[in-house]
């Protein structure tokens, strides 16, 4: 995906990039880098990812520009990053997992974008969510944590319609090792421990395996490494 590759930037030229509903504008002037963002309506179709392209020499007006002092640079890069908080996602419909069985769910996590400038010496400038998600509370009103609420659902299969360049698919495997049936209604995923892998048209996160051992025992959460993810993807993509 070209959007995540380094892009050249020449002095006094204005670049425009788009990922999902978020537009980026860049301009290098002497030892400054000017960056502005613009949000399109989320209800419109915005599944494209357009890498930074030169659109002129003049900064467009009416935008809120941020300026950074940087050394003269030749390239900038956009890279995906996980949100800064856990995400809560509901299953498509509540699912019951009997004792001893397991189920895989696929969660589309909207990623943030990080702007990195520089050639030999790289500067992390800032991060921004591509899609603004609402806040939710996971837990009871006395204790719990603040999370992002996803509008998409945790599904048992990947839908073509939900493959978007700014969404990272995270496989979540839930194993019921308890003596009772486990009903899964919503999941809270701590994305700060996940890594992002780039596919040909899709971003992936490593698999999260949750083992539920019962109400009185602590569950187990494991994150698969890259090899495990490749094996899982082969299992999903290749016909049985």
């Amino acid at each position: 995906m070209d959007i995540w590759k380094p892009q050249n930037i020449e002095p006094d030229t204005c670049l425009r990039a788009q990922i999902g509903p978020l537009l980026f504008w860049f301009k290098q002037a002497k030892d400054e880098l000017h960056i502005a963002t613009e949000r399109l309506s989320e209800t419109d179709e915005h599944i494209e990812a357009i890498p930074p392209k030169v659109v002129g020499a003049v900064e467009p007006k009416g935008l809120d520009w941020n300026r950074w002092i940087v050394k003269k640079l030749r390239s900038i890069r956009l890279i995906p990053a996980m949100p800064d908080r856990a995400v809560v996602v509901r299953t498509e419909i509540p699912v019951k997992i009997p004792t001893g069985l397991e189920a895989i769910f696929f969660v589309g996590i909207p990623v943030w974008v990080k702007v990195i400038a520089g050639d030999s010496e790289k500067f992390d400038l800032y991060e921004q969510p591509i899609v603004i998600r609402s806040n939710t509370w996971f837990g009871d009103p006395i204790s719990g944590e603040l999370c992002y609420s996803l509008t998409t659902r945790a599904r048992r299969e990947i839908l073509e319609a939900e493959i978007e360049p700014h969404r990272c698919i995270c496989p979540v495997k839930i194993c019921n090792a308890s003596p009772t049936t486990l009903e899964v209604d919503k999941l809270c995923i701590h994305v700060e421990h996940l890594k992002i892998f780039e596919g040909t048209k899709q971003l992936w996160a490593n698999e999260v395996k949750i083992t539920y051992k019962g109400e009185d025992l602590a569950g187990e959460i494991k994150l698969r490494k890259l090899i495990g993810l490749i094996l899982l993807l082969l299992r999903i993509l290749l016909p049985a």
Partner: protein
């Protein structure tokens, strides 16, 4: 410093007593007077001792901590310090309020920011002619679109009462405690704007007078300056 002062004063008293003894003064009378003085001081310091003991209970019970927002009676403020005799609060208009510990033990104390999330309760009324389902949908939409309102716990819309002048609703939404004021400001304004846009009336309290029959006109008697009675229909 407290220990040093204690040693200094008790040492000074001892030295004075020793000098008086050497000069031949009878100390029994002095000791008797000191005993009476002790009883008097004990009665006078009742309140202080009560405050000190109340302070110890506050420290062990921990109903609030430094930095939390509490309300005692009509006073609301952030706790600056919990001291031996009193608790100091800073009010929103930057005043220092000193509340004796005894007052805090005896009265109700509301700790507003102990828990991480808070619920904002809004009482509102709509005209009797309005569609209740439509009102619920509009309120739900307002909550869903407010960035400070949490998706869960879910907003609560309760049809409370058939009021004298309006259908009364309770609209309760949750937020993180630090966003409470922002939520209050934004959502109140949005409710008014949306209700105006949707044509939902928020009625004033009103009374309708009937003469005993809905269709009969209300009789009015007008008395002019010359005290002539005229009857007008």
């Amino acid at each position: 410093m407290l220990v040093r002062k204690g040693i200094f004063y008790s040492g000074s008293i001892f030295v004075v007593l020793a000098i008086l003894y050497q000069l031949g003064c009878k100390l029994t009378a002095l000791l008797g007077a000191a005993g009476i003085a002790g009883i008097a001081i004990g009665f006078a310091s009742q309140t202080s001792v009560s405050n000190i003991i109340s302070g110890l209970f506050l420290i062990s019970e921990k109903p609030f901590a430094v930095g939390e927002l509490i309300k005692v009676g009509d006073t609301m403020g952030t706790v600056l310090s919990i001291d031996l005799l009193s608790v100091k609060l800073r009010t929103f208009d930057n005043q220092l309020v000193r509340i004796p510990n005894e007052t805090l033990i005896k009265n109700q104390v509301n700790n507003i920011t102990r828990f991480p999330i808070r619920r904002l309760d809004i009482e509102l009324g709509v005209a009797y002619k309005e569609d209740i389902t439509k009102v619920r949908n509009v309120l739900s939409d307002i909550a869903a679109n407010n960035p400070y309102c949490l998706d869960e716990p879910e907003p609560l819309i309760v049809f409370k009462n058939f009021g004298d002048s309006a259908l009364e609703f309770l609209f309760a939404i949750w937020c993180v405690k630090t966003d409470f004021l922002k939520l209050r400001n934004t959502i109140m304004q949005k409710i008014k704007e949306r209700f105006d846009a949707e044509g939902i009336e928020i009625p004033f309290p009103h009374r309708t007078l009937y003469t005993g029959s809905v269709t009969s006109p209300f009789p009015v008697t007008v008395v002019d300056e010359d005290n002539k009675d005229r009857k007008d229909n």
